[in-house]
């Protein structure tokens, strides 16, 4: 994996942003079991990976990430930068116990904030658009954040329904 020759604003943005968000996750009072937190972080990382690989590579190639079209170390670190945002979003959803109209407002406002943050990342040269527009991102965020909530509610139900006898995979080595 290529490491950058010069540490510009985009690299520093990712480093500082990543450190601050990890620190925030640690400092925030614990809200979810570690199992659920792990799955939330993974899901919030995998969805952008799927979308980025679909629309940022050929045949569409709507935008470039970081300095070059090669896969750099900071492209890899950027995956981890996506995850905390989904975590904070679900943290707020769970903390304020949002339902019906409040939930709709929450998704719309957070999608607008996400577009605002994306604007900052463009200014920091993390994304360079080539055929993509910031306005296109808004409906994507609406769908993705609704998917985060659906996913969270699903795994939360599954977690609370789980009994020890359901976990059999490593039983032979565990006992």
């Amino acid at each position: 994996m290529n490491s950058p020759q010069n540490y510009d604003i985009n690299e520093w943005f990712i480093i500082i942003g990543l450190l601050v968000s990890i620190l925030l996750i640690i400092l925030l009072p614990k809200r979810f079991p570690h199992t659920i937190s792990t799955l939330i972080l993974m899901f919030c990382m995998v969805i952008p990976i799927i979308l980025d690989t679909m629309i940022a590579t050929k045949p569409f190639d709507f935008y470039d990430i970081n300095d070059t079209s090669k896969f750099e170390l900071f492209d890899f670190l950027l995956w981890f930068f996506y995850a905390p945002f989904g975590y904070f979003f679900l943290y707020g959803f769970d903390k304020w116990n949002l339902r019906s109209f409040g939930l709709l407002i929450y998704i719309i406002v957070s999608s607008m904030l996400a577009v605002g943050f994306e604007f900052i990342t463009i200014k920091a040269h993390i994304f360079t658009f080539d055929g993509w527009h910031l306005f296109y991102s808004f409906p994507i965020y609406l769908v993705v954040q609704s998917a985060y909530i659906a996913f969270y509610l699903w795994i939360k139900t599954l977690f609370h329904q789980t009994k020890l006898s359901d976990l059999i995979y490593f039983n032979k080595t565990d006992t």
Partner: protein, 158 residues
């Protein structure tokens, strides 16, 4: 035509998996699915963009077939591998199952190449495919192992 074959295979695999009686817990299946997408995508990025070992098609239907392979067939095959492994008692059978998985994935790689959905360049060797899928299975297994421990501890605490 080749694209529809790959899509059909993906759909059949998914339906068969849904109907199959699974040993693994759904949360574990989700974790294995996501971690295999994460690891495989990063390796694919390196192979395509940095080392030009693989070429993916520019046309939309070929790209769709590759996405089906990357996001559905590969993760589902890994989940299937672990699910079958959980019903096997002896280590010897587990090793044979693992070897079978690697052989199956390498065959899929070969078929994708024949269908021109993925073009392996001259720098690519069969050993790379073997290394890729063994490494992928190992990394996902390690992630799964630690997740299972954590999950079990938290279920015990409930």
């Amino acid at each position: 035509m080749y694209t529809s074959l790959i899509i059909s295979y993906g759909v059949i695999l998914t339906v068969a998996f849904i109907l199959k009686k699974k040993k693994m817990h759904m949360l574990e299946i989700i974790l294995v699915w996501m971690s295999s997408i994460f690891i495989y995508n990063n390796i694919a990025f390196l192979s395509i963009l940095n080392y030009s070992l693989i070429k993916i098609p520019d046309h939309n239907h070929g790209f769709l077939a590759y996405e089906i392979f990357r996001l559905l067939i590969v993760p589902l095959s890994i989940v299937w591998l672990f699910d079958v492994n959980s019903s096997l008692a002896s280590i010897g059978r587990k090793v044979i199952n693992m070897l079978g998985f690697i052989l199956y994935m390498c065959s899929l790689d070969y078929i994708l190449d024949e269908f021109k959905i993925v073009t392996h360049t001259n720098s690519w060797a069969m050993t790379y495919s073997i290394g890729l899928y063994s490494g992928l299975a190992f990394c996902v297994y390690v992630t799964y192992f630690f997740f299972h421990k954590l999950f079990k501890q938290e279920v015990l605490k409930k």
